[in-house]
């Protein structure tokens, strides 16, 4: 198995405030990694750095062969390889579901309209929304919108998918439908990194669990560490999460 994501001593500051204080971990092809940790521990920042929405100030980060610390990095190539989904769906409100999904294949890959539509049909069917192709985002529930956002990323056939608390804005029954889509993706062999508060989901699908605390990886291992953590901090974090 080859590493598709490799972070070595990654440092990131906003002004004088250091948020990532030397983060090191790797994710292999086909693996699902779950990043957990308290609010403000730098999980989202780490994820945003992986798609070069933020630049890092120290260490090295290699994502699908792209060296993110290089100033002459080919961003277009990076973003073809990496898909990212946020908590707040961010669908384009003036475009239909199908148009949202077709946009990047057409503009970035130069695929013709008819073929792009076929791709869109396939990925939208995959997230279970075939009958919503020509709806506008505001006509969909939050869970449906989030599934469209996932489909929109999948249409670019990424090698790596990043998810940042994609179910946090949803109520419980809508959360389930989004998690099922992600579970299916994992089963299909997609390499995924997900920041999540859903401990049950992490336990079920994650090959690797990364517990972050104060801008560092505090504990890392297989999903077994959620059952038997070796640091007291992770033990506390898990028992706190269980109370919610």
């Amino acid at each position: 198995m080859s590493p598709i994501v490799e972070l070595k001593d990654v440092r990131k500051s906003f002004g004088a405030l250091e948020i990532l204080k030397g983060v090191t971990f790797g994710v292999n092809k086909g693996e699902v990694a779950a990043i957990i940790g308290q609010s403000g521990s730098g999980k989202s920042t780490a994820l945003r750095c992986m798609d070069r929405l933020e630049t890092i100030q120290g260490g090295s980060m290699v994502i699908c062969g792209h060296r993110l610390q290089d100033s002459n990095i080919d961003l277009k190539a990076l973003r073809r390889d990496v898909g990212i989904v946020f908590q707040s769906y961010n669908l384009f409100p003036h475009l239909t579901v199908a148009e949202n999904v077709m946009l990047a294949p057409r503009l970035v890959k130069g695929i013709a309209r008819a073929e792009a539509r076929t791709i869109a049909e396939a990925v939208i069917a995959k997230v279970g929304l075939r009958e919503k192709m020509d709806f506008y985002p505001e006509q969909l529930s939050g869970g449906q919108q989030q599934r469209v956002a996932i489909a929109r990323s999948l249409a670019m056939e990424p090698k790596l998918m990043l998810f940042d608390e994609v179910t946090s804005a949803l109520d419980p029954q809508l959360t389930g439908e989004v998690l099922r889509v992600m579970e299916q993706l994992a089963a299909d062999g997609m390499t995924m990194i997900l920041v999540t508060h859903e401990m049950g989901f992490a336990r079920k699908v994650a090959d690797k669990v990364i517990y972050m605390k104060d801008g560092k990886v505090h504990e890392m291992g297989s999903s077994d560490i959620l059952r038997s953590p070796s640091t007291p901090e992770l033990a506390d974090f898990i028992s706190e999460a269980a109370e919610h």
Binding site: D51, R79, F86, N90, F92, L103, A104
Partner: protein, 215 residues
């Protein structure tokens, strides 16, 4: 009422329309470029246009007209015709205001929309064209039309400095010989209204249409 005077008012109306349309076209094009420059990541562009806007918004239109009309002569160039000078001044003036209005509209499209498009690999221009502009257009319609109505009325300043014959100028000339100010200024007022009112109506219709299309 004298037919010659009515014809003179209609000629003035035509002058107003010509100057307004030229201003919309040139001021709109320049204003669009200024709006793009204002939100450009290139500091020189955004700072430079910010200064330009400050200067243009700080000058009375009347003074700007004077500078455009007499300015070229002072520097030894052939002076402009009244229409050219008035168009030039109104273009400078409206480009600053439209640039600022449109910058606000572009920036009011939420930042995550930019990011979502960026993460999909769209280039800066593609993001602007397919994601930001269509959403900004809807927001921009009411203030833009409001400003166009201002421009139609502000064309009257052109007669004061550069002697351009537009509607209010001709109304004044007629009044000087007829001494029937209420009649002829009243007709001029109706003519201004006849241009400005349909603009506002169109704007509301367009807004409704965009609201349906851009849910």
């Amino acid at each position: 009422m004298n037919m010659t005077f009515i014809i003179s008012l209609l000629e003035g109306l035509w002058g107003t329309v010509v100057l307004s349309v030229l201003t919309f076209i040139f001021g709109g094009l320049a204003g669009f470029l200024i709006a793009l420059a204002r939100i450009s990541p290139v500091a020189a562009l955004s700072k430079g246009t910010a200064v330009y806007i400050e200067i243009m918004q700080g000058l009375p239109l009347l003074v700007l007209m004077g500078l455009c009309f007499y300015g070229p002569g002072i520097f030894g160039y052939d002076s402009l015709t009244p229409l050219q000078a008035a168009t030039f001044a109104l273009t400078l003036y409206s480009s600053a205001y439209l640039g600022e209005i449109w910058r606000g509209c572009l920036q009011s499209v939420a930042r995550p929309q930019w990011e979502a498009a960026e993460c999909l690999g769209l280039s800066r221009w593609q993001r602007m064209k397919t994601v930001i502009l269509p959403q900004a257009l809807r927001i921009a319609t009411p203030p833009t039309v409001g400003f166009m109505v201002q421009i139609v009325k502000n064309t009257s300043v052109a007669s004061l400095v550069v002697g351009y014959a537009e509607l209010s100028y001709n109304a004044k000339i007629i009044n000087n010989s007829t001494f029937q100010p209420f009649l002829y200024f009243g007709i001029a007022a109706l003519m201004y209204f006849a241009i400005c009112y349909p603009l506002s109506v169109q704007s509301r219709a367009l807004e409704r249409k965009l609201n349906v299309a851009n849910r």
